[in-house]
Symmetry: C2
Subunit: 281 residues, 2 copies
Amino acid sequence: MLKTILTLITLLTLTPCIAAESSDNWRKVSSENIVVIALPQGNVFLELAPTFAPKHVARFKQLVRDGFYDNEHFYRVIDGFVAQAGPKDGSAKDKKVPPLLIEEEIITPENWSFTLVQNKDMFAPQTGFKQGFSVGYSAKENKAWLLHCPGVIAMARESAPNTGTSHFYITIGQATRYLDRIMTIFGRVILGMEHVQAIKRTAVSEGQPEVDSAQYTQIKSVNIMADLPKEEQFTILVENTDNALYAKKITQKRLRDNPFFYKKQPPILDICQSTIKTKVM
Amino acid sequence: MLKTILTLITLLTLTPCIAAESSDNWRKVSSENIVVIALPQGNVFLELAPTFAPKHVARFKQLVRDGFYDNEHFYRVIDGFVAQAGPKDGSAKDKKVPPLLIEEEIITPENWSFTLVQNKDMFAPQTGFKQGFSVGYSAKENKAWLLHCPGVIAMARESAPNTGTSHFYITIGQATRYLDRIMTIFGRVILGMEHVQAIKRTAVSEGQPEVDSAQYTQIKSVNIMADLPKEEQFTILVENTDNALYAKKITQKRLRDNPFFYKKQPPILDICQSTIKTKVM
């Protein structure tokens, strides 16, 4: 006897009509494009998004390879919002990194395509997936941009747009979509999100004792997967979002054709609630 | 030098135009209406919602007072989705609790009012706050319902609607709004959500080793705040969402009138990203 809405997840993710597992269903993520953040509670794996934010990806990889983030802390962590890390504000280390031009959206070439998830999203004309990332798209503007769904990594900045340097945040709560197109997202967590969720919160509710900075979660190290010793490397596959199979899966999710949905729900998919599966080998 | 998008949260939550702090800004939650779930990592405090789900609140309080959940486990925990707890499926303890009629929405009386947050939400004609809870509202149907924002507690069930008994889930990721109006939400976390987020995940990605059930997070105890020894009780205040001051705050949030928003964003508020503050005394 299963008294669980969670059978649901199986029902929504199993897609019996789709052809059997094939290599086309999964995409191997290049080890050059995987960042491994080692935290005391476990390792977090991110896929970088050079198509959308090439300069930020290059910057981040360089800083990672310089050991820039090793032993730094998550110093602003607000439950339901973001976990932010970087060097001490105003320190020599902080100031030596020059600002970057923001990469908040891309101009889409003529034949640009993506897997549509939803029309008339509240924050974007269209949403969908491109290369395993959640995107917004405006055909009128010929522009696409990455979305602030849970688990994306983006560059923090000051008030002016082109002021991001090295401080980054990972989104840990309900999608902060009002930050779309004004921040540079440059990757997303593909494995180990539970370890991000376990980062020590530094902001407390009014009336609660202040959190001692000695308790902040420290980053043990950050590495590019390709740079790790061979025995520590492994293969990460993510669902291939850019083909007809995946598009069909989206359509089936939207239908919710299952007795659990005893009343018909609006045929809407929230792009940020439409997760992409990961598999390790 | 602050290189942080997090100044933002201050900017969005400070509302200098609004009259100084007054008792009307905060609502004291009745200790009869607060559930305290003691987890190894810390205590989680929930406010119950008897206006929306009276029978489920009564059932839950009775089970809590019977010690029903003490020493039970969170046995299905999926990152970004839900943390679900209850007795062993099919056990005598499980089977002795009779099913409840679903309380998925209420019929609103003639003069029913709420604080509007958004028109034409993708899943509801209108969204807003009522008594500190996120609600959907249909004027046409004269109905209101609680929303699956992060941190709500709801009764799990089988496929048929009226099959919920004692198993509950707390939402821990992007709002699962497709479950609105087909599940009974009966409360929400008002303090300690970070401890919910630290509950051990029981579902793993394909290719990862299965999680041993010995690692599941155990509930130490569940109590009604009013039943705790006097020295363990304290006062929890939540923002009063049902007055003109709060409505004004919503309007200001929507405007994003701050240089950080160097490009104008759509004037949209996601109800599930519009958090309500909590203060302890």
